[in-house]
C-alpha cells in the first residue's frame, strides 16, 4: 500500500516537533525539530528552524538548522540554508544560499559529524498528561545505533576542535564553494516528491510575514534545541 505523504501546508505554523515513520512535505513554517524515516521536502514556501533528519532531505525553501540524511541531502537552487549538511550523498545546486559545513558520510560516523539525537527533541516540552497509558515512544528511533551515537557524542569535543571555522560571510555563499563536496544525484534516485513539485517562489515574503506565534501563558516555554551549538562551544574554549 502506498502511504500518503504528510503535508504541513502553506499558511500553517507549527511550534513543536514532528517525528515518525512517514514522508513529509513542509510548505508552511515549523519552529522545531523534524525526524522522519522517509523523505523530507522543504518546499520553496517552507521554513524550518530546527534540526532535521530523514532518509532523504530535499531543501527548496529555508532551513536554519542541521540536515541529516541517511541517504541523501540535496539543496536546490533558491534554497536558503544555514547549518550543517550530513549524508552519504550531499548535493548543493549552484544558486542555493548556503552557509555551514558539509559532511559526506554516514550519519553518526564519529569522524564526520557530531550527530546528537537529542537535538531532535524538545527538552522543555511538558510530558503528555496521563489521560491514557503512555504510548510506546517512537520505536523507530533507530535503537541499534544508539551506542554509535553515544560514542559520537563522547568524541564531539575533539571533533569540534579540528573543524575548520564555519564563520563565513553572513549573507549567502553560493554553493559553488561547496562544489567539491557535490555528488551528482541521478534524477531517478530523487524522492518522488522531488520530481513532481515545482520550485518557484519568493521566500523572503514568507520570512517576513510569518513570525513565531506567542505561546499561551499556561504552557511552559519551549526551549529550542540550540542551533549552531558546536560553534558556540568552540568559542568558549578559545
Amino acid at each position: 500500500m502506498m502511504r500518503r505523504t504528510s503535508i504541513l501546508p502553506a499558511g500553517v505554523t507549527l511550534v513543536g516537533e514532528i517525528e515518525g515513520d512517514a514522508d513529509l512535505i513542509v510548505r508552511g513554517r515549523v519552529e522545531g525539530p523534524i525526524h522522519v524515516s522517509g523523505a523530507l521536502v522543504i518546499e520553496a514556501t517552507g521554513i524550518v528552524r530546527g534540526h532535521v533528519r530523514a532518509r532523504s532531505v530535499l531543501v527548496r525553501g529555508v532551513l536554519k538548522g542541521n540536515a541529516f540524511g541517511d541517504d541523501v541531502v540535496r539543496v536546490e537552487a533558491g534554497a536558503k540554508l544555514v547549518g550543517e549538511l550530513t549524508a552519504p550523498r550531499v548535493t548543493v545546486v549552484p544558486g542555493a544560499q548556503f552557509r555551514g559545513q558539509v559532511h559526506v558520510g554516514e550519519v553518526g560516523d564519529p569522524r564526520l559529524s557530531t550527530y546528537d539525537p537529542t537535538l531532535h527533541t524538545f527538552s522543555g516540552w511538558p510530558a503528555p498528561t496521563a489521560a491514557e497509558p503512555p504510548r510506546a515512544e517512537a520505536d523507530w528511533v533507530l535503537a541499534p545505533t544508539a551506542e554509535l551515537w553515544a560514542a559520537d557524542a563522547a568524541s564531539a569535543p575533539a571533533m569540534a576542535e579540528t573543524e575548520p571555522a564555519a564563520t563565513g560571510p553572513t549573507t549567502g555563499v553560493t554553493a559553488a564553494a561547496a562544489a567539491t563536496a557535490t555528488v551528482a544525484l541521478p534524477p531517478e534516485e530523487l524522492p518522488p516528491e522531488a520530481l513532481e513539485a515545482e520550485a518557484p517562489a519568493d521566500v523572503d515574503e514568507t520570512l517576513s510575514e510569518a513570525r513565531p506565534p506567542t505561546l499561551p501563558p499556561e504552557r511552559a516555554p519551549l526551549r529550542m534545541p540550540r542551533i549552531g551549538r558546536s560553534r558556540a562551544r568552540r568559542r568558549e574554549w578559545t
Binding site: R3, S6, A10, E17, I18, A22, R135, P213, P216
Partner: protein, 119 residues
C-alpha cells in the same frame, strides 16, 4: 473531506507535538498532541488520534479526539470518539459516534421556558 495540496496531512505513523496555528485544513490520520487553532477544517481520520484543544471552523471526528473543541460546526461520525467539552452553534453526533463531555450552544426556548434567569 477531500485531500488536496493545500490540506495539511498528518499521516499514520507520524507524531506531531506542539502548537499549530494558521489558515488551512488539516487531516489527522496519525498522532497530534498540543494545541490546534486553525482558520479552516480539521478532520480526525479513523486511525487518527488528536489530543489537543481545538479551534477551527469545522471539526469532523472519525477517530479519537481528546480535548475541548470550539468550532462553527462539529460532527462526530460513526466510530468517532470525542472526549471533551464542545462549544459550537452546530453539533452532530452520528449513529455510532461517541461524545463524552458537555455541549455548549445557544438555545432559543419558547417564552416562559427560558431558564437563563434561574442560573
Amino acid at each position: 473531506m477531500s485531500i488536496d495540496n493545500v490540506t495539511g496531512y498528518v499521516g499514520p505513523g507520524l507524531v506531531v507535538r506542539g502548537q499549530v496555528s494558521g489558515e488551512g485544513d488539516l487531516v489527522v490520520d496519525g498522532v497530534f498532541e498540543g494545541s490546534l487553532s486553525l482558520r479552516g477544517r480539521v478532520a480526525v481520520g479513523p486511525p487518527g488520534r488528536l489530543r489537543a484543544p481545538v479551534e477551527a471552523h469545522l471539526v469532523s471526528v472519525e477517530g479519537r479526539l481528546e480535548g475541548h473543541v470550539t468550532a462553527g460546526e462539529i460532527v462526530v461520525r460513526e466510530g468517532g470518539r470525542l472526549h471533551g467539552d464542545v462549544r459550537a452553534p452546530s453539533v452532530g453526533i452520528e449513529d455510532g459516534g461517541v461524545l463524552l463531555g458537555s455541549v455548549t450552544m445557544d438555545v432559543e426556548l419558547p417564552p416562559g421556558l427560558d431558564d437563563s434567569e434561574e442560573r
